[in-house]
């Protein structure tokens, strides 16, 4: 646990007036406040530092104690005891605020050691606050999100049975209302936000509701036409190949793509690209026949 220079954090010198501290705090808080920097962990951490610095320097009693013991903070308690703890630092156990509120911050070990607990935020008596929101990430396989399924999650010790609709996207966030932390003083509960991280281990590529796949097509079928069986995401389907099908031909299989999110029974499309394979390890007879063919069509087209 290291000493924290609160003056440095607020970019102030030790002679800063109360007004200077207020101005410096507000300037930096506006820059780094989590409300203004959503999903930015660096800003959140910086804001916590700024808030903690302000918590100490804007409070004359705390500032006095901080200035008095400063780097010698480890012995502060000892010194305090020696002074018979003439007064306790009351009023620091303020109302806990809602998510990202000023009353709800993680304080450093240094702060806790010196001042013993979290600081208070802007509060008005028995203020009702909405509970803190929770954020969670759920890792799923693409196969998992092909069908609607139920899953039990444990969030902050509580089990939540969740229905995950088919077709959720990688990176998509859903809100589960009321499953965040409990509200303060009868305020409503916060919400739970779940972000899905969907990994794809299949041979299909996904773009929204559409799937893409490349299928090998042998030369003879491509030239003469025929039938092939191909894999769809949940089975197999027979395809007719037209004679003289060029390499790279794309076909659309309507309704064989991925389920459309929250639209039961609706599916995107599957796009197949044919990739011609050249025969290898030809026998002498095959070589003869290809040679004969090449004589018939010298340009090969």
């Amino acid at each position: 646990m290291d000493f924290i220079d609160y003056y440095k954090i607020l970019e102030l010198d030790k002679n800063a007036s109360t007004d200077d501290i207020k101005k410096a705090y507000r300037k930096l808080a506006r820059k780094h406040h989590p409300d203004l920097n959503p999903n930015d962990a660096t800003a959140k951490k910086k804001f916590q530092e700024i808030n903690e610095a302000n918590e100490v320097l804007s409070d004359p009693e705390k500032r006095k104690k901080y200035d008095k013991y400063g780097k010698d903070w480890k012995n502060a308690e000892h010194f305090e005891n020696a002074e018979k703890q003439q007064q306790q630092y009351g009023g620091f156990q303020g109302q806990q605020g809602g998510a990202e509120s000023f009353g709800e911050h993680d304080f450093s070990d240094f702060f806790s050691s010196m001042f013993g607990g979290a600081g208070g935020g802007r509060s008005g008596g028995q203020a009702k606050y909405r509970g803190q929101d929770f954020n969670a990430e759920l890792h799923l396989d693409l196969k998992d999100v092909y069908t609607t399924h139920k899953q039990t999650l444990t969030v902050n010790g509580k089990s939540i049975r969740l229905t995950i609709p088919a077709g959720v996207e990688n990176g998509q966030t859903i809100k589960i209302a009321g499953h965040g932390s409990e509200g303060v003083n009868g305020g409503p509960n916060g919400d739970l936000y779940i972000t899905f991280s969907v990994t794809n281990h299949t041979k299909f590529k996904r773009d929204g509701n559409n799937l893409y796949s490349t299928v090998d097509l042998n030369l003879y079928t491509a030239v003469l036409g025929g039938e092939i069986m191909i894999d769809t995401f949940d089975g197999k389907v027979k395809l007719n190949i037209k004679p003289e099908t060029p390499n790279g031909t794309k076909v659309k299989l309507k309704g064989n793509g991925f389920p459309v999110y929250k639209k039961e029974g609706e599916f995107g499309d599957l796009f197949i690209t044919y990739q011609l394979t050249t025969p290898t390890n030809l026998t002498e007879k095959e070589k003869e026949l290809f040679t004969e063919l090449s004589k018939l069509n010298k340009n090969g087209n």
Binding site: H33, P38, A127, G171, P188
Partner: protein, 98 residues
């Protein structure tokens, strides 16, 4: 009309220690929606998260209503761009490892 999903503005102002005029200004700027049921003004519970955020901006960061309005638009824009970025990242996967 059911008021289960509504919070009385008066109660909200008392509990959060904010002036009614502030809520009224947010309503006038279209940042929240205040509804009246039997002569009592309410806000929707679903707006609470945004409303508390706006209260923090105003009372703790000293940002005026015009600033909150601008910030709200920009945050919505950030949110849209974030969604677009996620969608583009997913699309990019189509061309990776080809």
């Amino acid at each position: 009309m059911e008021t289960d999903n509504l919070i009385s503005v008066q109660q909200f102002c008392i509990h959060h220690n904010v002036e009614f005029a502030f809520i009224n200004s947010l309503n006038e700027y279209g940042l929240i929606e205040v509804t009246t049921v039997e002569e009592t003004q309410y806000i929707y519970k679903g707006q609470l998260k945004d409303l508390e955020k706006m209260i923090r901006m105003h009372y703790e960061l000293d940002i005026n209503i015009e600033g909150i309005d601008a910030i709200s638009h920009l945050l919505n824009r950030v949110d849209d761009l974030h969604t677009e970025l996620t969608s583009l990242k997913n699309k990019l996967r189509l061309y990776e490892n080809e």
